[in-house]
């Protein structure tokens, strides 16, 4: 009796150790991102899941786990959950907010995890092994450059802002700096909170207020959709350009189709999460050193290269 119990215990123990050893063989990459609550984050979730699927299929000894969180607090809990059960080899995180996530991510780092930070930086840059982001200043600057070029350096502009955040400020700064010294004049600039409805209303008001508008910059494609509806409904012919930013598929499609009012697009691609995951995995199993800072440029999407940025299956 006693003997059989001992054997059973030994057997169970062996299985546990073996399965543990087996699990330890698989390198775990946790991906923590905000839940999809608007177009851009929906794109992030889509691309993160696509990367996880591709990598899990291609590399049997890597496991990419994607976890979405609807708030900063939830993301902190998610980090605890992810790191509680097992040792993470790498963490790819798009933090909800910099301040709140810094300490929790540091705790994960202290346990020996490789940390990749995407888009929004942490308050303490020394925590990250790899930082990957888009260039918001370039989003504004490159759009402005195209407008200057297309309008011959003069004309009346109206601008729609997003939500008061660093991202919005940077885009506006990039844009304003680029039009300095030209004869492009910003007639008006107001918030539409990255929301198509509010952008529709704001654009209607702009149209009522200004008899001559040469171009509109919406700083984000959700807002651009509202702008385009308002312009279309007004029947006004003075607006030559209406540009957005971010790389929404509907807008990229317009570029592909050679739309007259929206002939180019500036990406702030949600697919950057995929770039970050691939680079992190390359470091883990390919011995490709990836430490450092990567800034994705915001090159103009034109009819020639638009196909590269077109993801018809993505929700964004």
């Amino acid at each position: 009796m006693f003997k059989s119990k001992l054997i059973a215990a030994a057997a169970i123990g062996t299985v546990l150790v073996a399965s543990h050893a087996f699990a330890a063989d698989k390198k775990v990459v946790a991906v923590s991102i905000p839940a999809a609550d608007h177009g851009w984050t929906a794109g992030v979730v889509y691309h993160a899941q696509a990367a996880a699927k591709e990598i899990n299929a291609a590399f049997p000894d890597v496991e990419v786990v994607v976890k979405t969180s609807p708030s900063a607090t939830a993301q902190v809990s998610a980090l605890e959950d992810l790191s509680a059960g097992r040792k993470l080899d790498a963490l790819v995180i798009l933090p909800y907010s910099s301040e709140e996530l810094t300490t929790p991510v540091k705790a994960v780092k202290d346990a020996g995890t490789f940390i990749t930070v995407v888009d929004r930086g942490l308050s303490d840059a020394s925590i990250q092994d790899l930082y990957l982001a888009g260039d918001n200043i370039a989003v504004g600057r490159n759009t402005a450059k195209y407008m200057i070029d297309k309008l011959g350096g003069k004309g009346n502009l109206v601008v729609l802002r997003g939500i008061p955040t660093v991202i919005d400020d940077e885009r506006i700064k990039g844009f304003n700096d680029a039009i300095q010294g030209t004869e492009l004049k910003v007639l008006d600039i107001q918030y539409a909170n990255w929301n198509s409805d509010e952008a529709f209303k704001l654009m209607q008001d702009y149209l009522a207020k200004y008899p001559q508008i040469d171009a509109v910059w919406a700083n984000d494609d959700d807002m651009l959709l509202g702008v385009l509806e308002a312009v279309k409904e007004s029947g006004r012919k003075d607006i030559k350009l209406a540009l957005g930013g971010n790389g929404m598929k509907d807008i990229v499609k317009k570029v592909i189709d050679g739309d007259a009012m929206t002939p180019v697009e500036t990406p702030y691609p949600p697919a950057m999460i995929k770039t970050a995951i691939y680079m992190t995995v390359a470091n883990l199993i390919g011995q490709a050193p990836v430490r450092g800072t990567v800034k994705l440029d915001a090159p103009l999407i034109t009819q020639e290269n638009a196909q590269e940025y077109y993801f018809p299956d993505s929700p964004f």
Partner: protein
């Protein structure tokens, strides 16, 4: 004893409010129009006023429904999320039917919207009345549910309407009849039916009675549960009508559709002269309230007085001043 006190108070309040509460919102509207003209003459142009009143239609229609809920002593915080949810369901239904049914998918979708809306409202009503949960909490819960559902249905992105239906559906928002935009006509029709129901029908009197004093209403043989539940169902139907007008505006539903509409709706109802604690409703005042809100936003853009950072603050101040004037001029 308590019954007598209750009924006298009810009558007193009624007499008190005749006059100012009825006229107040319209005077405020008139004042805004004058101020608007002084600030920017373009403000009174037919296009601008047409735009503003047309887009206030969503809030106006939903707020007419909210007048029933609030005057019967309830509150519905879920209307914005519900509008997004109904919009999503309607578009998905129309898209799936479009290949087979062609353009008849549009009227069929409208029917679906009304059915779903009424069902959502009914659910809110039953949770509040039969479930006996505070309206604030109950509808806070369903607000989260509807918002989560639309986010789930759209994968966090956009649910666009089928291209083949788009042009045919557009006139529901952008079309005019005799020069008047369709959404304006629809909101006038909704308000007319609602004011008939609230002022001329037995149900309207029950609504006010339940909102003014539950006990008195119960002793008079009015079913509180039935009256309140119906109010929420009416609210749901109104949200559906608003959603039907909303779909063609941008041709898509997103997780940010209708965000914070519930607050605008409640503000419109209160500006319109309905007391938040229930007991009386002013349907036309509510409509005026919705237009006032939209006009203030429009004026803020048309004027160049304040920094873009302060616009929301100024809107808040104007709303509070309007309410204070109403209160003290009574």
């Amino acid at each position: 004893m308590s019954a007598i006190v209750g009924s006298t108070r009810l009558r007193q309040e009624r007499e008190w409010n005749i006059g100012w509460a009825d006229v107040g919102p319209f005077l405020a509207l008139l004042a805004l129009l004058v101020i608007g003209f002084v600030i920017n003459p373009d403000f009174l142009s037919a296009t601008n006023l047409g735009n503003v009143i047309t887009r206030s239609a969503f809030i106006a229609i939903i707020a007419v429904g909210a007048t029933f809920v609030i005057s019967s002593g309830g509150l519905d915080l879920s209307v914005g999320s519900m509008a997004a949810f109904i919009t999503g369901i309607t578009i998905l239904f129309m898209n799936s039917m479009a290949p087979e049914w062609g353009l008849s998918a549009i009227p069929a979708g409208m029917v679906v919207a009304i059915v779903v809306g009424t069902a959502c409202g009914l659910m809110n009503g039953l949770i509040v009345t039969v479930g006996k949960i505070e309206p604030f909490i109950a509808t806070l819960g369903t607000m989260g549910i509807f918002r989560a559902l639309i986010t789930y249905m759209s994968d966090g992105g956009t649910i666009p309407i089928d291209r083949s239906l788009r042009e045919a559906y557009r006139p529901v928002y952008f079309g005019t009849v005799g020069g008047v935009p369709l959404p304006i006509l629809i909101s006038i029709a909704v308000a007319a039916v609602a004011s008939f129901a609230l002022y001329k029908m037995k149900y309207g009197r029950k609504c006010a009675a339940v909102g003014a004093n539950e006990d008195v209403a119960r002793y008079s043989g009015i079913s509180i549960i039935k009256t309140r539940t119906i109010a929420y169902a009416i609210q749901g139907a109104c949200v559906a009508i608003a959603a039907i007008c909303y779909v063609p505006r941008l041709g898509a539903a997103t997780p940010t559709t209708g965000v914070l509409w519930e607050l605008q709706v409640i503000t419109a109802v209160v500006i319109g002269g309905t007391a938040l604690r229930g007991g009386k409703g002013h349907v036309w005042g509510t409509v005026a309230g919705a237009v006032i809100l939209e006009l203030i936003a429009n004026l803020m853009v048309l004027s160049d007085f304040v920094s873009e950072y302060l616009v929301a603050g100024v809107q808040g101040v104007i709303i509070i001043i309007a309410m204070l004037i109403q209160r003290f001029s009574k």
